[in-house]
C-alpha cells in the first residue's frame, strides 16, 4: 500500500477535455494539502490526435515528473496501447467497457477497471462530452480520495458557465465515483489522503510570468500567438481590464516588439512574448531597443527548432540565439528562470533591469516550464521593489535652452543616461536607430561612435557588478557538499528533474552539488570558473543537441565541463535519466 505518492495519467483524443480534467484533478489534490506537478503532451492540432496529461502527487514538494504511472484513465483504446509500458506493478486502467482488451495486450499485474461510460451518461442524463468527468470520479474512488474537494473544484472551475453546467459535471463525476465504489473492492494499492494543510496555487511558469509582470506594473503587452508563449497573451488579455493593461494581439511579431518599444519609449512598462520563430522576426527590433536604449522585456519561451520544429514540445536550443540575436554589440541581459517561483520574481527583476539600464531584457523560458503546472506557495508581491531607473531632474530641464535637444544619451561613468519621456517640457530629443551623439542626433563622427559604443557597453559592466554570483547548492536547497563527487551545472527548467535526481543520487551514496546559471548574460564567469577549477567532476544537463550551455561556459571561462548530458527528443528529462547519466560519469568517468 502506498499513500500520497502516485502518478495519475489521462489520455484520449484532442478535444475530449483532457487538460480540463487534469486541472481539476491537480487542483483537488493541491486543495487537500498535497503537492502536485503535472505535464501535458499534445500534438499541434485541435481535434483528434493523441493528448495526454499526467499528474504526480506527493506529500512533499516535488519538482518534476517521474517515470512510472499508477493510474491510467484511457478515454480510448489508443491510450492504453501507447502508455501501458509506463504502468507500474499494481497500476490500474480505467477505460470504456465497450473496448475489448485481449489478455495478451496487458500484463497480469495491471488491474482493469472497465466502466460503461455511455450507460452511465444516459442514466444520469448528461451530455456525452462528460465522459471525462465520469472517469475522473472513478479515479477518485479508486484512490479513495475525498470527493467533496473534487466537487468544490468543479464548482469553482465552472462558476462562469452557470449552475446547470456545474450540476452536470458534478453528477457525472459522482456517478463515476459511485460506480467504482459499488462494483469493485476497495483494494487498490495506491491511495491519496488529504493532509489538512492549506492548499497552494496550481499554476504554470507562464502564469507566474504574467503575475510577475502585472505585479511589476507592466501596462502594455503586445504579442502574436505562438506556442508555448500563447498562454501569456491569453492571461494578460483576460486581466487587461482588471489591472488596466493594454494588450494587443498584433499582425506579426515584428509589430509586437516595435509596439513594445513604442510603449517603453513613452514611459510605460512594456513586454512582448514569443517562441524562437517569432523571436527571429523580432531580432531587428531587439537591436533597435538596444540602440535607442528603450526598456523592453521579451519573454522567449523555447520549443524545439529548427524552423517550425516540434511546435508543442520542449527544448532549450535557443541559448546562443538569445545571446547573439541582432547585429552589432549592445547590452543583452538574458535571465533564465529555473522554476515557477523564479518565473514570477525574475520577470519583475527583468522589468527593473530594463528600466534601470534602459535596455531590452530577455527572460528565457521553455515549454516545459511555461506550460506544466506545479503546486506553489503564494508569492511575496513585495519581495522585488520596483525600480524605475533614472529620469532627468525637472530643475535641470527647466534651466536648459529651448533651442536644443536634451542630452538623452549623455556620457556617464556607469553608462546610464537619465531619460525623459514625451510630454516632459524641455526634455525633447529624438531616439535614433542610427548611431547618434549625446543629443540623439545622427553622427558618423569617429569620436562619438567610440564613446557611444563604450557608454552602452558600460551599462553591462555596471549590471554585472550589481549581480550576486550564484551559489552551489545541495540536494534539498541545503548547503553544498564540500567534497561532492560531482557538480551539475544547468540553466532553466532542467532544475526540477536535476533536484529530483540529486535525491536519487544521494540515496546511492553519490555526493552531488548543483550550480544553477540564472544570468546567462552577464554571465557569472568568476563563480563558474572557480567551480570548474575545484570540482572533482562536472557535468552540464541540457535539453538541446549540442550542449550550448557547455559551449558558453567554455567561451566565458576557457574551461571544459567533463560531461554533457543532453536530451533533444522534445521531451523534458526524467530524474531517472539524469540519475543514470550522472552515476555513470561518477563511476566510470
Amino acid at each position: 500500500m502506498a499513500i500520497n505518492r502516485l502518478t495519475w495519467k489521462i489520455g484520449g483524443k484532442a478535444g475530449e477535455g483532457i487538460m480540463a480534467t487534469g486541472m481539476i484533478f491537480s487542483q483537488s489534490c493541491s486543495r487537500g494539502g498535497l503537492h502536485v506537478y503535472d505535464i501535458s503532451e499534445y500534438p499541434s492540432l485541435i481535434k483528434g490526435g493523441h493528448n495526454n496529461l499526467q499528474v504526480r502527487v506527493e506529500d512533499r514538494e516535488i519538482f518534476s515528473q517521474v517515470k512510472g504511472v499508477n493510474i491510467l484513465i484511457a478515454l480510448n483504446k489508443e491510450t492504453i496501447l501507447l502508455h501501458k509500458g509506463e504502468l507500474v506493478n499494481g497500476a490500474g486502467i480505467i477505460y470504456d467497457s465497450s473496448e475489448v482488451i485481449e489478455p495478451k495486450e496487458i500484463n497480469d499485474n495491471i488491474r482493469l477497471y472497465p466502466i460503461p461510460f455511455n450507460n452511465i451518461i444516459k442514466e444520469i442524463g448528461v451530455q456525452g462530452i462528460m465522459k471525462n468527468n465520469v472517469a475522473l470520479g472513478a479515479s477518485i474512488a479508486l484512490i479513495d480520495y475525498d470527493f467533496g474537494i473534487v466537487g468544490e473544484v468543479i464548482k469553482d472551475n465552472f462558476k462562469r458557465k452557470g449552475d446547470k453546467i456545474i450540476d452536470e459535471n458534478t453528477r457525472a463525476a459522482k456517478a463515476g465515483y459511485d460506480y467504482i465504489k459499488n462494483n469493485f473492492k476497495n483494494d487498490f494499492e495506491y491511495k491519496l489522503e488529504k493532509t489538512g494543510k492549506p492548499g497552494r496555487m496550481v499554476l504554470t511558469g507562464n502564469d507566474a510570468i504574467c503575475m510577475g509582470a502585472i505585479n511589476a506594473g507592466c501596462k502594455f503587452y503586445a504579442a502574436y500567438p505562438m506556442t508555448p508563449a500563447s498562454s501569456i497573451l491569453h492571461f494578460m488579455a483576460a486581466q487587461e481590464r482588471r489591472f488596466n493593461i493594454v494588450v494587443k494581439h498584433t499582425e506579426d511579431e515584428i509589430s509586437a516588439i516595435n509596439m513594445a518599444i513604442g510603449a517603453g519609449f513613452t514611459g510605460v512598462r512594456a513586454m512582448t512574448g514569443t517562441s524562437g520563430g517569432g523571436f527571429c522576426l523580432m531580432t531587428e527590433g531587439y537591436g533597435l531597443a538596444g540602440m535607442l536604449e528603450v526598456p523592453v522585456v521579451i519573454i522567449l519561451s523555447m520549443r524545439p527548432g529548427p524552423s517550425t520544429g516540434l511546435p508543442t514540445w520542449s527544448e532549450q536550443g535557443d541559448l546562443k540565439f538569445a545571446l547573439n540575436a541582432s547585429q552589432g554589440d549592445f547590452p543583452r541581459p538574458v535571465l533564465v528562470p529555473g522554476d515557477i517561483e523564479e518565473s514570477f520574481y525574475l520577470t519583475q527583476v527583468a522589468f527593473n533591469i530594463a528600466e534601470k539600464y534602459q535596455t531590452p531584457v530577455i527572460v528565457l523560458s521553455d515549454k516545459n516550464l511555461a506550460e506544466n503546472h506545479k503546486s506553489t506557495d503564494k508569492f511575496d508581491p513585495k519581495k522585488v521593489t520596483i525600480d524605475r531607473g533614472s529620469y532627468a531632474d525637472p530643475a535641470d530641464l527647466a534651466a536648459s535652452l529651448d533651442t536644443t535637444f536634451f542630452k538623452r544619451y549623455k556620457y556617464t561613468e556607469n553608462g546610464i543616461s537619465p531619460r525623459t519621456i514625451p510630454g516632459m517640457k524641455k526634455g525633447i530629443y529624438t531616439a535614433s536607430s542610427d548611431e547618434h551623439d549625446e543629443e540623439g542626433s545622427i553622427s558618423e563622427d569617429i569620436d562619438v561612435r567610440i564613446k557611444m559604443m563604450q557608454k552602452r557597453a558600460r551599462k553591462m559592466d555596471t549590471l554585472a557588478k550589481e549581480l550576486k554570483q550564484p551559489e552551489l547548492v545541495g540536494s534539498q536547497d541545503t548547503d553544498a557538499n564540500a567534497d561532492a563527487d560531482i557538480t551539475i551545472i544547468a540553466a532553466g527548467s532542467t532544475k526540477g528533474p536535476i533536484k529530483e535526481a540529486m535525491i536519487l543520487l544521494e540515496k546511492e551514496g553519490i555526493k552531488v552539488n548543483f550550480l544553477q546559471i540564472v544570468y546567462l548574460n552577464p554571465f557569472p564567469s568568476e563563480k563558474v570558473a572557480e567551480v570548474l577549477g575545484s570540482a572533482k567532476k562536472t557535468a552540464v544537463v541540457e535539453n538541446n543537441f549540442s550542449g550550448q550551455l557547455a559551449d558558453i561556459i567554455k567561451e566565458k571561462t576557457g574551461k571544459d565541463v567533463d560531461k554533457r548530458v543532453l536530451k533533444y527528443d522534445g521531451r523534458p528529462f526524467y530524474p531517472e535519466e539524469i540519475f543514470t547519466a550522472i552515476k555513470e560519469v561518477v563511476t566510470h568517468g
Partner: protein, 285 residues
Amino acid sequence: MVKMTDLNVIDRPNWCPGCGNFGILIALKGAIVELNIEPENVAMISGIGCSGKVPHWIRTYGLHGIHGRALPVATAVKLSNNGLTVFTVGGDGDGYGIGMCHFIHTMRRNIDMTYIVHNNMIYGLTTGQTSPTSEKGVRTKSTPSGVIEVPVNPIALAISAGATFVARSFGGDVKHLQKTIVAAVKHRGLSFVDVFQPCVSFNNVNTYDWYKQRVYDLQAAGHDTTDKIKAFTKSQEWGEHIPIGIFYEVLSPTYEDELPQIKDTPLVKQLIDNIDISGLMDDFT
C-alpha cells in the same frame, strides 16, 4: 502660442537641394504652429529613408526607428499616452514596401494619429531603385529593363482597409499640404495623407512640373468626402488629371475609445507601485 522658431533645430536637413521633403517639413511645422500644439506633446515617429530623418529636423519628441516599422511604434506611443499628438512620417518604400503589412492593419485600427507618406515613387536613400509606387515600365537601377508590376494605389488601399481619413497632397504646394495636415490632425481617428514628393536626384519623370501640370484640388471640384464609393472612384484617376485633397472622411470610434483602461488616465500616468495581485493568486488556489 507656439511659433515656427520653437520647432527649429540647429542642424540643417541634409536632403538634396530642391528635395520635395523641404516643402513637407515646412508644411508639417506650419500645421503644428497653426494647431498650437506644444512641441513636447508631439511625437514624430519614422522608419528608414530620406523622409525618416524628419524627426531630427523638427524640435518635437521623435523616434527614428527601423525600416517599415514606424506605424507599430507610433500606435503604442499613442496607446501609452493618448494625450500626445502622434505623427508617423515615412517614404513609399518604408510604408508601401517593407511596411505594407503594418500599413493595412493600421488603416483598419483607427488609432487617433496622422500618417504622412512622402511618396517619391523611387528609392532615394539607396540611390535609385524601383519603389512599390513606381509606374510600370520605369527603368531604375534594380529594374534596368523596366518595372514589370503595376504600382500599388495607396489611396484605394487605405479606403478599402478601413481608414477613416484618406487624403493626398503635393510637396510643391505647401499651402495645400499644410491645410491637409491640419485637417488630418483635427480628424478623430487614423488620418492618412499620401504626399507627392519630387525626388530631384533619382526620379526625372515625376518632377515638380509634371505634378503641377496634372494635380487638381478635389475640394475645389466639389468632391463629396462622405461617399466611400465616389472616393474609391476618384482614387482610380491617374494620368492627365490627378486629384489631390481629401478623398474620404468618416467619423467612427477610435481604437482608444474602445479601451476603458485608458478612459480616465493615460497608461503612462497610471501608478504602478501599489498593484494588488492577492486576488489573482487566490484565483489559482
